[in-house]
Symmetry: C2
Subunit: 352 residues, 2 copies
């Protein structure tokens, strides 16, 4: 039986209770709590026993206060002129302003889109004594993969954002299951279209893993469940509204009997302008990705029939939580970090 008074601790046990029960000083308790060296095995065991006996759980708020811990997090985003990336950047700004009062600083940096080398350079320029964690939204290439691994090796937490980098050792992926998103789009498309015919798919880039996965999911459902709808080869729009607006008219003229369009990437503004200019056929079904001012308007006017989306606010919040938890080497709530595949119709858009 260890020395020390055994009066029941009031409320949650603190390190003071641990010290008392284990018969050691606060400093020693802190050493074993934080795995610091210079403590005898037997002492460590005494403290660990006290921890177990009392069911001690550290108060992170107090710890961070004493430690003057600050989390410095960075978001690397493509410098694309599309509304989804804009929304992400805006969320980094807004949440950064709020979190600045909670020992957390967020920063966003842009790199040219579809440019692996730019991401590599940015990543390689990061130092662990300036940056605790980074969220990367970019293409999966061997060079990017290696740069991610180097950053992690230097002690920087890394999550992939929107598009996964599964070949790398990134700590987590923050985004939706894009294969399932593609399946979802196909299901809606198949059930909304009432007559057989061809369906057009607009994609972004072969480099973008999220786009490839969506296309794969879309094709899978179309083939098995809606064989009367023929999916045409992808049109590569590079997330560029102007390019899409330029390409589309010819294609629609070439396949006038098209029954549906799946816009699986960004650049919806171009699609919308084209559809509005040509006058959309009443029975054409259009399904796009990401709820933005552009797609909201299209849903409202009925030009788009459905939008598959992932919430930019949630993406950023989840990335922040994951990056902090990784930096602190503490566990997190799996279920809270799953980004849902949202479906929006004109009726269930959130206000404003």
């Amino acid at each position: 039986m260890p020395e020390g008074d055994l009066s029941p601790p009031t409320g949650k046990p603190t390190i003071n209770d641990l010290a008392r029960v284990a018969g050691v000083s606060l400093a020693t308790v802190d050493r074993v709590l934080n795995g610091r060296p210079g403590v005898r095995r037997t002492t460590i065991e005494k403290v660990n026993k006290a921890i177990a006996d009392l069911g001690y759980i550290r108060d992170t708020a107090a710890a961070n206060l004493a430690r003057r811990r600050v989390y410095r997090l960075l978001f690397i985003l493509p410098d694309a002129a599309n509304e989804f990336v804009d929304a992400l950047a805006a969320q980094v700004d807004v949440q950064g302003a709020q979190l600045s009062h909670q020992r957390t600083t967020l920063a966003a940096r842009s790199v040219p889109p579809f440019d692996p080398q730019a991401i590599v350079d940015m990543l390689d320029g990061l130092s662990p004594d300036e940056t605790d964690g980074v969220a990367v939204f970019g293409p999966e290439t061997p060079a990017v993969r290696d740069a991610v691994n180097r950053a992690r090796a230097r002690g920087i937490a890394v999550v992939s954002l929107v598009a996964d980098l599964p070949s790398s050792e990134r700590d987590h992926f923050v985004g939706i299951d894009n294969y399932a998103a593609g399946r979802t789009a196909a299901r809606l498309m198949g059930r909304f279209i009432h007559e057989p015919g061809p369906v057009l798919v607009i994609t972004g880039s072969r480099l973008a893993r999220d786009h490839l996965e969506r296309r794969a999911g879309f094709d899978a459902v179309m083939t098995t469940d809606f064989p009367h709808l023929e999916v045409l080869p992808s049109v590569e729009g590079r997330d560029d509204p102007d390019l899409i607006q330029q390409l589309l008219p010819d294609i629609l003229r070439a396949v006038p009997q098209v029954r549906g369009i799946y816009s699986s990437a960004a650049g919806n503004a171009g699609l919308l302008r084209c559809l509005e200019r040509e006058g959309r056929r009443g029975d054409l079904v259009v399904i796009a990705h990401e709820l933005t001012p552009v797609s909201r308007r299209a849903l409202t006017t009925g030009v788009f029939d459905a939008v598959i989306s992932q919430n930019a606010g949630h993406l950023v919040r989840s990335a922040v939580r994951l990056l902090k938890a990784t930096a602190d080497r503490v566990p997190f709530d799996e279920t809270q970090e799953r980004i849902r595949i949202d479906i929006y119709l004109q009726d269930n858009m959130p206000p404003e």
Copy 2:
């Protein structure tokens, strides 16, 4: 120019900086910060000027630590044998376990369903020195409304959960826009059904505001956008799987040509059993509410075509944040507290 040293504060300003710049003590700064009495007007102004000049923002973590603030929150849930309420209760448990280490205790108490008096009694039994805030999921009646107002008058924060109580002075509503949810269900129903015919609506109770609002939204869209589908009078299932299972066969026999079923309340297990037993017609469209183990299975097997849902985890998290913010009289992030109207198809259900 006030007395005191003016060396630039390093990092974020603290009350020490305020005290120095305003030339007063910490205690006085604290008094004005917390609106405590016993400070001269001129002193208050000196401090307020310092606050403004330095852009001071209080560190709530440190404040809560010193204050040993504990939030004691209560959830009043109907004692209904349905999976959605079960999910809510489970979330209160799970999140309560996590939050217990963050100076927050959650408790859930059951009251008989559709029993206003039980809620009134529960509410009236609450004392502000045992309970800081309460979330109420129940029918909107004058008696409930008055009890809510009394609780608030006693200094207890109150939010309505799932079903709003707009006639009361509840601090907030935590839940989806049920009118929009009904509209959404109708939109899917209308677009999934390919031939004219009657549509059946199963509701819960005339007392439940959420059910009434869903029905209203459903009817609105059906009438204007899908007039070829005739919406039959509601079947009242009282959220009771057994009752629903018992009522339904006769109705389906009476209207064999029914093209769609909108299960707008709880008790899906009964509907599912009935459909599975009778053998669902291939072209019957079934849309229900709330993603639960029961509805997940129905979506997977294709018995349900779509499920409108609100995430139980988010509901509880949002209620907690709102209740805390109200108790502390601090503002909150509107956009984060909007509960989304989720649409689930077999393809976009979250795993497990």
